[in-house]
């Protein structure tokens, strides 16, 4: 009997713990969402009166509009370029052994260690030196560097899940290396490429620290515009932007899940 009681108590406290952890994870989003609907012009919680006027302001505020557009442009370019470059590197790292391979690997993964502000500052100094400071190309380049390790990792893991014998079988059946790549390797790699691109896009869209250094008034991305806003105003507009952010990301993931299967896209399942 005692034993049964103890087991039950343990079971209940386990469930409570899991519930608390989950609550803790969604808490910020919950608080911000409520704050966004606050009618008063200060960021406070809980709101006394509800309104959607901060959403209207967020959507019509000029800096946010250009910021969103800039972010979309930078994200699209950066994640696409990173995907191309990263796939090439991932294939090279997986398939070939060459001198300085370990060094190359270290350099490619170094943005995981080097702080983003260092990358941003370095590129700012460099861009100023060649007279291209605060242009779009520098912003895109910064984002490519920041997201590249994640793309390489994602593609590399997908490559590891491809049975090398499939490529050998194709070769024995008369396929030249180029055709093995186009008919076997790349189709099997597709889920990895999609997930790599998606990771890169999410990271790039949220990137703030490095962007702060390399963007100017005309090229500022949405997170930078939000930072500029919060330094001047303290109304719930930012909370409204956050809610929009969450909604858009959730929508993108839902679409990806519907058309590709989330498990596949996020590499949770092994794509066999």
């Amino acid at each position: 009997m005692r034993r049964g009681l103890r087991t039950r108590l343990l079971g209940i406290s386990g469930k409570v713990l899991v519930g608390l952890i989950l609550a803790f994870i969604v808490l910020p989003a919950f608080v911000v969402t409520l704050a966004a609907f606050n009618d008063r012009a200060i960021l406070s919680f809980p709101p006394a009166k509800y309104s959607t006027r901060w959403f209207t302001r967020a959507l019509t505020y000029r800096d946010f509009q250009t910021g969103l557009w800039n972010s979309l442009v930078v994200t699209a370019w950066a994640s696409t370029i990173a995907l191309g470059v990263g796939t090439g590197f991932a294939i090279a790292l997986k398939r070939y052994s060459f001198r300085l391979k370990a060094t190359l690997e270290g350099v490619l993964l170094s943005p995981l260690i080097v702080p983003h502000f260092t990358i941003g500052l370095g590129l700012l100094v460099l861009a100023t030196g060649i007279g291209a400071a605060r242009g779009f190309s520098v912003v895109v380049l910064t984002h490519v560097i920041v997201v590249l390790p994640f793309v390489i990792r994602s593609v590399y893991i997908s490559l590891q899940n491809i049975d090398e014998r499939l490529e050998l079988a194709a070769a024995s059946l008369g396929a030249r290396p180029g055709r093995v790549l186009s008919t076997i390797t790349l189709p099997l790699l597709a889920p990895g490429l999609v997930s790599g691109w998606l990771f890169a896009a999410i990271l790039s869209f949220n990137e703030f620290t490095a962007s702060l250094f390399v963007t100017g008034q005309a090229t500022q991305t949405l997170p930078v515009a939000m930072y500029g806003y919060v330094r001047e105003f303290a109304d719930p507009t930012l909370a409204a932007v956050s809610v929009i952010y969450i909604a858009v990301t959730a929508l993108a993931l839902t679409v990806a899940n519907t058309f590709l299967g989330l498990g596949k896209v996020l590499n949770v399942e092994q794509g066999r």
């Binding site: 014998r165 499939l166 050998l168 079988a169 194709a170 024995s172 396929a175 099997l188």
Partner: protein, 385 residues
Amino acid sequence: MLSKAADLSPPASLPGAAVTARPAPAVRLDGVVKRFGTVTALEETWLRVEQGEFLTLLGPSGCGKTTLLNLMAGFLEADAGEIFIGDDLVTATPPYEREIGIVFQNYALFPHMSVAKNVGYGLRMRGVPKREIAERVAEALALVKLSGFADRSPRQLSGGQQQRVALARALVIRPKVLLLDEPFSALDKNLRGAMQVELKEIQRRLGVTTVFVTHDQGEALSMSDRIVVMSAGRVRQVGTPDQVYRHPQDRFVAGFIGDVNLLPGRLETRAGERATVAVGGLRREVEAGSLGACAAGATVDVFVRPDHLGVRPAGEAGTLPARVAALVYQGSHIDLHADLHPDLAGGGRVVVRMPGHGALATYAPGTPVGLLVPQAGLVAFPPEP
């Protein structure tokens, strides 16, 4: 090296040359060596695979059999020696130009293609017209009895069916050589036997030269025209299943192919190809070829198959004294384990395979018995160094 090949395969323009000379083998390895770093995976190997032959590379893992297969397929490059497929020197030819078919242990079916697309892959790579591809794919699927499965995905097939698809995919390109890399080891036991019979039937019908890699001696004995027994990167013996089973050339082959007992013996006389050995009080004639440099009076190990031994009442003339240690029920037969009398060079455990189940009632552990050693079929080797 090139001129040597020309010597062996007569020019086609010579009338009658093809009749008198030995036809070019389907595959020929001339002194092929493969090293991985400092490890020699395959020592210098000379081998001929005849046209239409079913040749098995047999050995434990790490013996070099898969390396040899990969060299034939072109997945690995030889460090020395030459490889010929038919009359063509292919030592440096990439796999996509060798015209070989290969079936892997895990079948390696392309998961993103239907069964028909898998089978037709090699034909598409060769630029065969669409209509002919459809015909030949249908033919190949009929050959492996999978006609209704063309539109399925490999994922929807059982292991045996996947193997048939892999076989059809390899055969549809009409390969010069079919390479099989342990194709049965992923199948369960019942299916394995049926697939072996079926594969052998297809191979015989098409007459396609086949090189089969396995570590399973039963598979090798039942399917092969010839067996190449390998260990530690070396070819130990090449011969028909009967030759390697009944006349093993060394201890490794004797021990690896089939079950075997070791009896302590002494070499009495040796003359030409024959020799006489004494086992306890018995005298038996053996072939001298396997005895190496042993001289009369030397200790030798005498190998005998469990099904060649017999059991008699203790003390019967012409038997070896032993004591029953255990009886192991095996379904179709009984394995009687017996300990030799300690006076016989320290004794030792032997296994006697007895058909039927009579032994279970007749012998109990501890019973003294006499072991009946056959007059012929013994093989003697020098003791292990």
